[in-house]
Subunit: 352 residues, 2 copies
């Protein structure tokens, strides 16, 4: 990814330790950009796994790998919950329907912290079990939330890259900015539409199957997706609980995701304001002095970028210092620039 | 902050447009660092307000300004909730104690989504009111969570700056790294200790005042702080509800904060792994080519830093492109470096 065959090498391939002199006459007004620094692969083992997904034909197999991991956790959690609460079903009181279904329903109502109270533990053992399940359930819901966000973002990433590739000459900055804004709005839009659909679906279902009137049905929907769960209205029929098992989980996660989206959009807006503020600020001579990292008396474009990024709060002194340390280790001839010969001298030969 | 009187100016103060030549003989092995780029002030209007806090003598006045804003929202929310639910108290059924207290208690139980169900709305009006209050309550709890984190972090910031200042010669990188790790652990520790204290306090209170046995009390505590709220055990006495009003809010927020802490520490750990991976990777000639932002055939320390930061995913092409644009606007003489004369030519005179 980092090497592009079509481009001519800009650095001399000779092992001359002295850095090549700048002639100062290179055309400066062409569009400058830091080319093709590859983004670090966050989850390499998972990514290399993508190819193997197609071996499965199940729905689970077709899911995104990080989603699949979460789905497996969820199935494991619900499976263990169902078995345990089925075994102790006589120590749980309330409105009961079918044994296994009630156990799964109770697990879902507990893990999402809806806690209607239509089924309640009534022994010390089941009470402590419920405590254990609610804490682990919260952690699992948190995991689902973070992974769902990753998934949506990654799906959009492809579109952005395509947009960038197709319009390379028209100004990548603008496209990137728009893609970034669009991505956030797209995510918000998807989650919002899904949530409205789930609210309507839940209301209709409660009216049709649980025989509630419309206000009561809507009230029960709101009590559920917010995890409020007073419990005066809940799913008490067998059909209702089958629906509830799927609907409660998607509904609560969808609403939480919407709140996360709004929070992200707020953060993004604030960050954009800071960026604009930093970019609009007058540059003084004191700024030039402070930006001169290599103390050579001039501020190049890269030094300027680092100074501004630091001012924006996007990078910290720690980030810079660690990389500087590596630079100094690599810069064997202490010329202040890296040359191919520096690399040869500083880095041990490839292990054979 | 950006100008330091004790330091001699590194840039020539003459309006000579040609960049000063590097002599290549400057001592390179001294510790390089990008000096004193000021962090952008995130909330300037709030910050300038700090001085005015001391005019108030109340507890509220002594709080951190962003905390004060949230406290005002919270008081407003609880006040409105108390008034409204007091007015419609005859349309709420369940275990009742004193009118105003019940209204506040109901508001708290609703906003935190605990939703015991010991008090439930039983008219269309109160049901829709509860829906409105749970949504706004969730948003408010989210705000409290984010501000509480800010507060804890800012409190630590002072310690870090002090550590840096006191040990300037011993290696700022190490101190910054340790401070970063310590800050996360400190926050986790504070929240954890507070949560354990709240759990013990709640359990003892429920045993002493609500006359529950120890397991039931602990179970009710867990049901509450996780916002599960089955409602089979809740605060039914007048004294219990006074305690509950304060305890439920702090307990639920404390647990959510602990989960956030753990998530942050995980993110931090992953980020550190990526940083290490990027720093350990062999540098190839192709990397040098890609890192050469200004196309002058050499890779200086600043270019190297930007390349590595990009590889770590800490900065994006968008960030770089925007600042580059500003650089090109400022670099009037197109020398590829900024000089004081560039600044004079590019920036309009100060408005008088």
């Amino acid at each position: 990814m980092a090497s592009n065959g079509a481009r001519e090498p800009l650095l001399p391939q000779s092992p001359d330790p002295a850095p090549p002199k700048t002639n100062g006459q290179v055309s400066r007004r062409r569009y400058l950009r830091c080319r093709s620094a590859p983004l670090a692969n966050v989850d390499p083992p998972e990514k290399t796994d993508i190819g193997s997904i197609h071996r499965f034909d199940s729905i689970l197999g077709k899911l995104h790998p990080s989603f699949r991991t979460v789905a497996l956790y969820l199935i494991g959690y619900l499976g263990i919950g169902a078995v345990i609460f089925y075994l102790v079903r006589h120590q749980i009181t309330g409105k009961k329907t079918e044994g296994v279904l009630d156990a799964i329903y109770f697990t879902i109502v507990t893990m999402t912290t809806v806690g209607y109270g239509d089924l309640v533990p009534n022994s010390d053992l089941t009470k402590l079990l419920a405590c254990a399940f609610v804490f682990t359930g919260m952690a699992l819901v948190g995991l689902i939330l973070s992974k769902a966000a990753d998934y949506l973002v990654e799906k959009q990433e492809a579109l952005i890259i395509k947009a960038l590739h197709g319009n390379h000459e028209v100004g990548p900055t603008k496209i990137l900015q728009e893609a970034e804004v669009n991505r956030k709005w797209y995510k918000f839009f998807v989650v919002f539409v899904l949530l409205v659909a789930l609210i309507i679906m839940g209301t209709i279902f409660l009216v049709a199957v649980e025989k509630l009137d419309v206000i009561d049905a809507f009230y029960c929907v709101c009590c559920t997706i917010t995890t409020l769960g007073y419990g005066d209205k809940s799913f008490s029929s067998e059909g209702g609980r089958v629906f509830a098992v799927f609907w409660i989980l998607t509904g609560t996660i969808c609403l939480a995701q919407l709140f996360l989206c709004i929070a992200e959009m707020n953060t993004e807006k604030r960050r954009k304001e800071i960026t604009e503020m930093v970019l609009k600020r007058r540059i003084t001579i004191a700024d030039l002095e402070a930006a001169d990292i290599d103390h050579d008396g001039t501020v190049g474009v890269a030094e300027f970028i680092i100074y501004k990024l630091k001012e924006m709060g996007k990078i910290s002194q720690e980030d810079i210092a660690l990389i500087m340390q590596q630079f100094e280790e690599l810069d064997v001839d202490q010329s202040g620039t890296l040359s191919p010969s520096d690399l040869t001298l500083a880095q041990a030969p490839w292990p054979s």
